[in-house]
């Protein structure tokens, strides 16, 4: 068993909607170690994205304890959370979320710029080569297909050499063929030792991960290691 990446105890997130309180994530206990490929599955509204947001240090915690790479982030200030996000975590979003005004290469370099990492463009190009996009280096997102955009997003997420990848419905906007391709890249990255945590409601893809966590109404109902 490798380094503990995520350690959650009674992790809870409650949203207040007028008079009603909804627990999107409810008393979740979870441990994810280095080298795992975890698929968080469940129906819409089950709390997959909320759990991922908390693990990604993007959202606050209502109660419970959450440690990321040994750092207690439960009550950590935004100014410190940003350091964890920029150096330790790679994010992949459903809609790719590339910056439209920047080329594929520049999107990668932007991440490095924010992280304060000096790297030569050659190294960023190598990341694009890794996702078979060497020929799209200077293309803007609007000139790329959906599958290509998501591969650029993966290259961007890898730029800072993060400890783990967080992918929220990474194939939600892709056809079956492209979805499988993205999953193949994830598998390859995982084989190289990268920890991947992916939220998906796509059974076929989700079940290809090494470990499946199934959420219903904010609670883990299945944790298949």
């Amino acid at each position: 068993m490798g380094e503990l990446i995520v350690k959650a105890e009674k992790l809870t997130k409650v949203y207040k909607l007028s008079a009603e309180e909804i627990a999107a994530v409810n008393n979740v206990d979870l441990e994810i170690s280095s080298g795992e490929f975890v698929s968080i599955m469940g129906p819409s509204g089950s709390g997959k994205t909320t759990l991922l947001d908390m693990v990604g240090c993007l959202d606050s915690i209502t109660s419970g304890q959450l440690e990321i790479l040994g750092n207690d982030v439960s009550k950590m200030k935004e100014s410190r959370l940003v350091n964890i996000r920029r150096r330790k975590i790679g994010f992949i979003f459903q809609d790719f979320s590339l910056i439209p005004s920047l080329t594929a290469l520049e999107n990668i370099q932007l991440t490095l710029y924010f992280a304060g990492i000096q790297k030569k463009p050659k190294e960023s190009i190598r990341l694009l080569e890794k996702v078979s996009l060497a020929h799209r280096v200077n293309h803007l997102p609007k000139q790329l297909s959906g599958g290509e955009k998501q591969r650029v997003a993966i290259a961007r997420a890898l730029a800072t050499e993060p400890k783990f990848l967080l992918a929220d419905e990474p194939t939600g906007h892709l056809d079956i063929e492209n979805s499988q391709e993205i999953l193949s890249i994830f598998k390859q990255l995982n084989e190289e030792g990268l920890t991947i945590i992916m939220a998906t409601h796509n059974q076929k893809l989700g079940l290809q991960a090494k470990r499946i966590i199934y959420l219903v109404d904010g609670r883990i109902v299945e944790n298949n290691k």
Binding site: D53, G56, L58, D59, E78, S79, V82, R85, R86, R87, F91, F93, D95, S97, I99, P100, S101, L102, E106, Q109, L110, T111, L112, Y113, F114, A115, R156, A157, T160
Partner: protein
């Protein structure tokens, strides 16, 4: 990759919007630069014009001193005349360095300016006129052959307009007199350029003003004696003494009240431009809510986002500053033309004086404008919580 290129690329996304906002700032800066240029140019031209009159004091017939002074500066009809005795009386005063009598008469010439008609200003002078204005040089020809010669020396522009050379004749329409051009002065950049000079006695004779003068220009040996000199002549009947320094001050005061109005327009233009910039950048921030959330997710700190949005605003304003400077420079002759049409008295010389220093100030001003205008939109963007920004923008 640097913050300026990211900001620039983002502005390029909405080209028309960015260009319009930059244009707004540009116009505001152009208005400001033109007004400041006018302020400087008018003051320098007026000071130059007054200095180049060569005298510190002017004795004229009693009347409105400023009317008389501007008449001397500008030329025109309706002059009052005084007896030449006063000149004889003061010329021996030991406090005086140089003194010269003048007789000005304006004559309407219906054939002037290709038949449009216009006034020609004639000035009767004696040789001491040149002693007061040592910078006046002959372009061609020479001084009058005698004190009563029927000759003229033409100012540079007057000769150009009338298209006369030395040896040509000039017809003084209302007195039916033909005079010979004996000399032409070089351009001096003052009112002298438009004047036709003739010997004082000839002027008195042909305009039927024997022993009359319109003014006596005086340069004192010591400017500090101006007070005692004025005092001594205070009781002299029918005359008044005008200090050119006072005239300058009064004209500048009159102009400064008009300046308050024009400066208000400039301030309003800048205020509108600032609001325009804030509005544009704020709109852009709200449109990019999700993008800002994503940037925060991939590692941008609140300060990174603040700097990025701030830089966009500063870029818009800087480009506006450059555009405004170009507009002001290229439009300065048009602005000068309009000012000269509108102002009751415009000194000769460059009225809108745009120097590199002014352009630098305008550019720095535009950057400061950007710095101020960008604070609120940048703060709004920086304070967005990442998860809310991502979810709100979906």
């Amino acid at each position: 990759m640097n913050i300026i290129s990211i900001a620039y690329k983002n502005l390029k996304r909405k080209k028309i919007r960015s260009v319009l906002t930059i244009g707004g700032v540009g116009i505001a800066v152009a208005v400001l630069v033109s007004l400041m240029g006018f302020d400087r140019g008018y003051q320098e031209s007026l000071t130059g014009n007054i200095d180049k009159m060569g005298y510190q004091l002017l004795i004229t017939a009693k009347g409105c001193p400023y009317e008389a002074a501007t008449m001397m500066l500008k030329g025109g009809g309706g002059l009052r005349y005084m007896e030449k005795d006063i000149y004889d009386k003061i010329r021996g005063d030991t406090r005086i360095d140089k003194v010269t009598p003048q007789l000005v008469s304006t004559v309407y010439d219906p054939d002037r300016l290709d038949g449009q008609g216009g006034f020609v200003m004639y000035m009767g002078i004696i040789k001491s006129y040149l002693e007061l204005k040592p910078w006046v040089k002959f372009k061609s020809g020479q001084w009058f052959t005698s004190e009563t010669a029927e000759e003229v020396i033409m100012g540079y522009e007057a000769a150009e307009v009338e298209q006369r050379l030395v040896g040509d004749k000039i017809f003084v329409s209302n007195v039916n007199k033909v005079l010979t051009v004996i000399g032409i002065f070089e351009r001096s950049g003052t009112q002298d350029d438009g004047i036709v000079f003739l010997p004082l006695k000839t002027a008195q004779q042909i305009f039927s003003l024997p022993d009359k003068l319109t003014g006596v220009g005086i340069k004192l040996k010591n400017i500090q004696e101006i007070g005692s000199f004025e005092e001594d002549l205070y009781n002299e009947p029918g005359i008044q003494i005008i200090s050119m320094a006072q005239v300058r001050g009064t004209i500048l005061n009159l102009i400064s009240s008009a300046k308050v109005m024009t400066n208000s327009v400039a301030v309003i233009a800048i205020f509108i431009a600032v609001i325009g910039v804030v509005n544009t950048i704020l709109m852009s921030v709200f449109e990019r809510t999700r993008e800002i959330g994503v940037m925060k997710a991939i590692g941008a700190s609140a300060m990174d986002i603040f700097r990025l949005v701030w830089m966009e605003t500063i870029l818009v304003c800087s480009l506006g500053g450059i555009l405004g400077s170009i507009l002001a420079l290229s439009g300065s002759s048009l602005v000068e033309h309009i000012i000269k049409m509108v102002l009751p008295y415009a000194p000769s010389g460059q009225l809108v004086l745009i120097k590199p220093g002014l352009l630098f100030v305008a550019f720095i001003g535009a950057i400061i404008l950007g710095i101020i205008a960008g604070i609120y939109p940048a703060w709004r963007a920086a304070s967005m919580r990442p998860v809310e920004a991502i979810r709100t923008g979906e």
